[in-house]
């Protein structure tokens, strides 16, 4: 960040906001590494499959959420439509998988 000696209110506001954002990104990044280690640990530790699969799926879902919201800024203004489309896509995909698992595969 370039030094700005004439910083006014707005500048300070944005600086604080950016600092906050940076903090979130670092925390998320650390969490993502921890999640990845946990995932590897679960597989290496040879736990029961019925336990490992759901946990892995949940961890994966959380990671995707982190990716969207903290690194791809989906929470920011102007991202409502991409968010809506992503959720619609997830809805269509879940519907498909749900139907195929209940009707065809079981």
């Amino acid at each position: 960040m370039a030094k700005d000696t004439n910083s006014n209110h707005a500048d300070q506001y944005y600086k604080a906001k950016k600092k906050e954002e940076m903090k979130h990104q670092v925390i998320t990044f650390a969490l993502m590494i921890v999640f990845t280690i946990i995932a590897f640990g679960l597989v290496i530790g040879e736990f029961d499959k019925l336990f490992v699969f759901p946990v892995l799926l949940v961890l994966a879902a959380v990671q995707v959420g982190f990716q969207f919201y903290y690194f791809m800024h989906m929470s920011h203004k102007g991202h409502e439509f991409p968010a809506l489309m992503i959720y619609s896509g997830i809805f269509a995909a879940i519907l498909t998988i749900l139907a195929l698992t209940t009707i065809t595969w079981v």
Partner: protein, 620 residues
């Protein structure tokens, strides 16, 4: 470079211009010509089907050829005629309706068209290379996997390539509508045709991937020895049906929603009233799209999914009748008390209501899972989907083309010939398909090569064939109308129908940059607002300034051509050996090379300068 400054040009220059164009108005004309060609081809196939079924136990054409005919009739009409004709209207009209100078990605728009065209041509090459696909337009496994020859390979690869194009077109329209609306054009001020383009594009975005996946699995099963649909090897052929209909049912809404949009514009203009219940129309459009994703299994009631799955899908299907009903009543109430002009476009719109309602009612009948066991794969189904697709989509396309022809070509189609077309087509259509409901209930199965004497099916089939001839005559009159208008027609006024929406505020012919200054939109039906509250002209929202335009490019053509060549290589890999691998190599090299050129070469477009725009005069 600019088309406005050039007068008479050589034939070669015009062809080159169309091969490289990225202008949405010209791409619309390309879609119209290509879609129109495939429409005639699909119609020819339909006529042969009806000729074969004119008399009992007919030997006019062989059984195998009949299988190929009905397969290609369905595939051609849905993928290569109805979709591109709607894309033609969307491309031509939607950017003008929202006050944009082009679509968001002009290059991708051209690429979408050429991919569609080469996919369609590939599919039809099959006629000359050992026989067309013969497994029905639905290509159900296991028949599509074991079908001998290369017919179904052409189906899988041809639809794959044209599907890429459609997907790109859909994404392009979504981005255009979200990002390029003129100042003041809020979502709830968008004309219904733009809304339905938007929603249909979202459906394309979510539905086409299912087809892409399905076609890839089919391609791998047929060409590379995979076993996705082979139960002996642990596969499952029902998965094809699911994937196909997860795409296939939203597909019918992709077709019908834009037609709904066309009719909404036509009703409003020719009743001289704003659309009744605008917000409920928008809501109903979105609701149809939403529900359209959870009904696909109603095509598979007899597969044996079990009573619970059947009931869920039956109820979801019937629920769609509600938003559709909202639309029907809104259209009726738009006409109510309006000052109605029965132009050709309005005739299509008015006759669409009872026709489509009939198709909707048989739809609810078919949705009752228990009763469907009786209707399934009979002519009742054939009658149903022709009522919704011809009575809805084809009427919509013909009405929309008549309505927007002056905007697309600067000349008005002959109304008298247009009305002849309409009445012959309308009569012929009902003659052909109404009787098929009863043929189906009497037990005549769909897709059979012949029927036998003495089962009471003779008269009905004869009537049906007579009706098909009337539709053919109507199509010829339409063609004659188009030719005579192009050759002899006079230039039409800029706003021939006393229009309400933004596209009619443009001069005739539409400048290649569309809007000299982006217009300020002050309400629903922006032009009508200015006609009643202003001086009838749009208020500019910006000062006159340089306009940034994209350069033409030949790359979309070569990218698509490369895939076309490579597809032949993949198909004949086993029987042709080395030459096929050469085709794969050359084809992919052309495609990937063109993509590489596009990626590394900066193409920043050009500017039309303010001074040149001023020189051309005020325009409006």
């Amino acid at each position: 470079m600019s088309t406005a400054t050039v007068g008479k040009r050589s034939f070669g220059a015009v062809v080159w211009d169309y091969l490289t164009t990225v202008d949405h108005k010209k791409i619309a004309i390309l879609y119209l010509v290509a879609g129109g060609f495939f429409f005639l081809l699909g119609g020819l196939e339909a006529m042969l089907i009806r000729l074969q079924l004119m008399a009992p136990d007919s030997e006019l054409i062989g059984a195998q050829f009949y299988n190929e005919l009905f397969t290609m009739h369905g595939t051609t009409m849905i993928f290569l005629a109805a979709m591109p004709l709607l894309f033609a209207l969307m491309n031509a009209i939607m950017p003008l309706q929202i006050g944009a100078r082009d679509v968001a990605f002009p290059f991708i728009n051209a690429l979408g068209f050429w991919l569609f065209l080469f996919g369609g041509l590939l599919l039809n090459c099959s006629w000359f290379l050992g026989g067309a696909p013969d497994a029905g337009w639905t290509a159900y496994a296991p028949l599509s996997v074991i079908s001998p020859g290369h017919g179904v390979d052409f189906y899988a690869l041809g639809l794959q390539i044209s599907g890429f194009g459609t997907l790109m077109g859909g994404i392009n329209f979504i981005v255009t509508i979200i990002t390029m609306r003129a100042p003041g054009m809020t979502y709830m001020r968008m004309p219904l045709f733009t809304w339905s383009t938007f929603v249909a594009s979202i459906l394309i975005l979510f539905a086409f991937p299912a087809l892409t996946v399905g076609l890839f699995l089919l391609t791998f099963d047929r060409l590379f020895g995979a076993n996705f649909f082979v139960p002996d090897m642990g596969g499952n052929e029902i998965i094809w049906e699911h994937l196909f209909w997860i795409f296939g049912h939203p597909e019918v809404y992709i077709l019908i929603l834009p037609a709904f949009g066309v009719f909404s514009e036509v009703f409003s203009t020719f009743s001289k009233k704003r659309l009744f219940g605008y917000s409920s129309m928008v809501f109903a459009t979105v609701l149809i799209a939403f529900l359209g994703f959870m009904v696909w299994a109603h095509h598979m009631f007899t597969v044996g999914m079990g009573p619970i799955a059947n009931s869920i899908f039956a109820i979801a299907t019937m629920a769609i009748a509600v938003p559709t009903g909202i639309k029907i009543f809104n259209w009726l109430l738009t006409m109510w008390g309006g000052s109605i002009r029965m132009t050709t476009a309005m005739l299509y719109a008015v006759s669409f209501i009872p026709t489509f309602t009939l198709g909707g009612i048989t739809g609810v009948m078919l949705a009752s899972a228990a009763a469907d066991y009786q209707y399934h794969d009979s002519y009742f189904v054939v009658a149903h989907f022709h009522y919704v697709i011809v009575g809805g989509v084809v009427f919509g396309i013909l009405g929309g083309l008549t309505y927007w022809w002056p905007l697309m070509f600067g000349k008005m189609l002959n109304e008298k010939l247009g009305k002849w077309t309409f009445w012959l087509f309308f009569t012929g259509f009902h003659l052909t398909f109404f009787i098929q409901h009863f043929l189906g209930l009497m037990g005549m199965p769909r897709r059979y090569w012949k029927f036998l004497e003495g089962q009471g099916l003779e008269t009905g089939n004869l009537i049906s064939t007579v009706g098909a001839f009337l539709m053919a005559i109507a199509t010829f009159i339409l063609l004659y109308n188009v030719i005579i208008t192009t050759v002899k027609g006079k230039k039409s006024p800029a706003d021939p129908w006393d229009g309400r929406t933004l596209e009619w505020s443009l001069p005739n012919p539409t400048p290649f940059y569309n809007f000299k200054q982006l217009p300020l939109v002050r309400g629903l039906d922006p032009l009508w607002v200015e006609k009643t509250q202003g001086n009838g002209k749009m208020i500019p929202a910006e000062p006159l300034d340089d306009i940034h335009m994209p350069n033409n490019s030949f790359l979309p053509f070569t990218i698509s051509l490369g895939l076309f060549i490579a597809a032949f290589g993949f198909m004949y890999r086993v029987d042709a050996g080395f030459p096929a691998y050469v085709a794969i190599g050359v084809g992919l090299a052309i495609t990937l090379g063109s993509m590489l050129i596009r990626s590394v070469k900066d193409d920043l477009g050009y500017h039309i300068h303010k001074e040149d725009l001023e020189k051309e005069g005020a325009g409006e």
